[in-house]
């Protein structure tokens, strides 16, 4: 038995031998994970057990959003990591991770990112990767992207009918930049930054939306879309 452990030690040593010891590595691996929630519970698509803040039973069918222009800051040393070409499409049962890969080491204590895509990226749809217009987030060929998409159905309070709820929120004025404090990211150590979205925040703070009272439960522009934009600008994404 002992033999084996010695061998393993040797193996470990062989692997470690390329690294210089005692120094903080110049690079560190960082990823950002997103958990989606509704009223504090982890979101599940096509399940009936959710309730809207206004009380209607609610089933989510699709939830997707763009996170872009990610910046990590170490406020102490004023070091910043600015991700290049930073556009990420996230969504329930779709993608929950932004992998920044190896980035310069620092004690990052702040993260900044935007919900949606910036004016430049939003002015064209001939792009690839997460901005590929075939990702189902382009409005059509010439008018940019949906930033936040929520689709589902709820039981209408007055008609008791199964009613669709469709939020497709975009346009440059609803591009929202968020800065959050971080804890636990240490220079040189692989880190996973856990963020959380709260779908209920789309319906409240500062604008309260009760779908049973809405004139149209399809929102794809206009004043209600802007209200939802204001709602997601704050409190929609938090550090977990």
């Amino acid at each position: 038995m002992k033999n084996i452990s010695y061998l393993f030690l040797a193996v470990l040593f062989a692997f470690a031998s390329c690294d210089k010891e005692d120094e903080t590595p110049a690079q560190m691996n960082v990823e950002i994970t997103f958990e989606n929630t509704l009223n504090g519970n982890p979101l599940e698509l096509n399940q009936e057990n959710f309730t809207l803040p206004s009380g209607e039973p609610f089933m989510v069918k699709k939830f997707k959003y763009y996170i872009s222009n990610v910046v990590l800051t170490d406020t102490e040393s004023a070091t910043q990591y600015i991700e290049n070409d930073s556009y990420h499409l996230l969504g329930q049962d779709f993608n929950s991770v932004i992998d920044l890969g190896m980035i310069p080491s620092a004690n990052y204590d702040q993260i900044t990112f935007s919900i949606g895509v910036d004016e430049v990226a939003n002015s064209r749809t001939d792009q690839t990767g997460d901005l590929d217009p075939n990702n189902d987030m382009a409005w059509n060929w010439n008018s940019g992207y949906k930033f936040v998409v929520l689709e589902g159905e709820f039981t209408h309070q007055s008609t008791q009918e199964r009613t669709g709820l469709i939020f497709h929120i975009g346009t440059n004025s609803n591009y929202a930049t968020v800065t959050l404090p971080l804890s636990g990211v240490m220079a040189g150590k692989a880190s996973s930054i856990a963020l959380e979205t709260a779908i209920d925040e789309l319906f409240s703070n500062p604008n309260i939306l009760a779908p049973s009272n809405m004139a149209s439960t399809t929102v794809m522009g206009g004043p209600v879309a802007d209200q939802i934009g204001q709602n997601y600008a704050e409190g929609f994404i938090k550090a977990n």
């Binding site: 061998l7 193996v11 779709f94 008609t159 399809t218």
Partner: protein, 372 residues
């Protein structure tokens, strides 16, 4: 115990060899790797399965198998009987006859741009092309040939063992390699030279009617901001016009039947009652050539399809919310679900659908019967 130690020893030796040096890749012998010939506006993000890379030899073999009648019980039917190139790889029939003329129950699906799809069949019961390809061979309503019989027929053939050797490094025919070869050929069935493609690439203009149809196709209507649309692009997504490839997101109930008549569809696969009546949203490329339409081939023309979406939607427990909510006039819950497109708008969408016909695809000699 001893073998464990030896194993650890090997690991160590491996680690030492590997640790700081550069790895050398051995000179590859075997089939010739090729890549898909696709336009750059088809996503790069759909990976090729790592255990079935595309090769010249694999595609060649797959093409032969696709047209091989030996793979049916009585030697009368091949995949191409129901998936005919000139009809966009469909067969023009409501349901298809298998061996002995036994009629199936579903409409033969058109095949194109399959690499960008992740679930196959109308109800999504196959999760890879490799897996899908073996099912029609055994299906009693289709080719009705047990797989071991298929294997021995190919093994006993004067040519096939050599072709399997060239494609997969062994002359032993297996069901796995049959599936892999067919899947490789099917992935090469890329349709990307329609008028719509030429328009995407800036090579041609669309007529005003086609352009209106395109706008309507990809727009979800929003009467409160005077935005007119047919909302087709909500489910037939992007340049591919096919369903969402993520999980089961590309399956919908598009209002063909009311609750009483709803078939199980995706529910058969997931067991979830919310999935009842949901079917795969197919890609619409070459749609003008692939009538009749829908999983049961109930519509024989595109006019009927448009009439369905515009004025004959049947409500049900699982009707897609994107249809439930889509209208060009303010919703009135007391009225039936209607899109309220005008006759001209419906014709414009049909004109756009005709721009999805790809003459090169349906006559490309690379996809045709190799035995002719």
């Amino acid at each position: 115990m001893r073998s464990l130690i030896r194993y650890a020893g090997w690991m160590m030796a491996g680690a030492l060899l590997y640790s700081c040096g550069e790895s050398e890749s051995p000179v590859a012998q075997g089939p010739t790797p090729i890549s898909l010939e696709k336009p750059d506006y088809f996503s790069d993000q759909q990976a090729m399965p790592s255990d079935n890379p595309l090769t010249e030899e694999g595609v060649r073999l797959g093409r032969m198998l696709f047209y091989e009648k030996k793979l049916s019980q009585d030697g009368t039917i091949s995949c191409s009987s129901c998936h005919q190139q000139e009809k966009g790889f469909s067969d023009g029939l409501q349901v298809s006859p298998g061996v002995n003329g036994t009629l199936g129950t579903m409409n033969a699906m058109a095949l194109s741009n399959l690499h960008w799809q992740t679930r196959f069949f109308w109800n999504g019961r196959a999760v890879s092309l490799e897996e899908q390809a073996l099912l029609p061979i055994e299906d009693s309503l289709e080719m009705n040939l047990p797989l071991d019989e298929a294997i021995s027929r190919l093994q006993d053939d004067p040519d096939y063992p050599e072709l399997f050797q060239a494609a997969f490094g062994s002359d032993q025919v297996t069901s796995e390699t049959i599936g892999k070869a067919l899947a490789q050929f099917e992935r090469t069935l890329i349709s990307a030279n329609s008028k719509f493609d030429k328009w995407i690439r800036g090579e041609v203009e669309l007529s005003p009617e086609e352009e209106l149809g395109l706008e309507l196709f990809f727009t979800h209507p929003e009467p409160s901001i005077q935005l007119r649309g047919g909302n087709c692009g909500d489910c037939h997504l992007g340049f591919l016009t096919s369903g969402d490839p993520n999980g089961i997101a590309g399956f919908h109930n598009n209002g063909l039947d009311s609750d009483e008549k709803l078939k199980s569809g995706l529910e058969f696969v997931t067991g979830n009652p919310f999935d009842k009546g949901k079917f795969k949203a197919p890609g619409l490329r070459n749609i003008a050539l692939t009538a009749p339409y829908m999983h049961d081939g109930r519509f024989s023309t595109l006019d009927e399809v448009l009439d369905h979406y515009n004025e004959h939607i049947q409500n049900s427990e699982t009707l897609d919310v994107l249809i439930l909510e889509a209208s060009n006039e303010a919703l009135d819950p007391s009225k039936p679900i209607k899109l309220y497109l005008s006759a001209e708008e419906k014709q414009a969408i049909i004109a756009f659908l005709h721009t999805l016909t790809d003459e090169e695809f349906v006559s490309n000699p690379k996809f045709s019967n190799p035995f002719n």
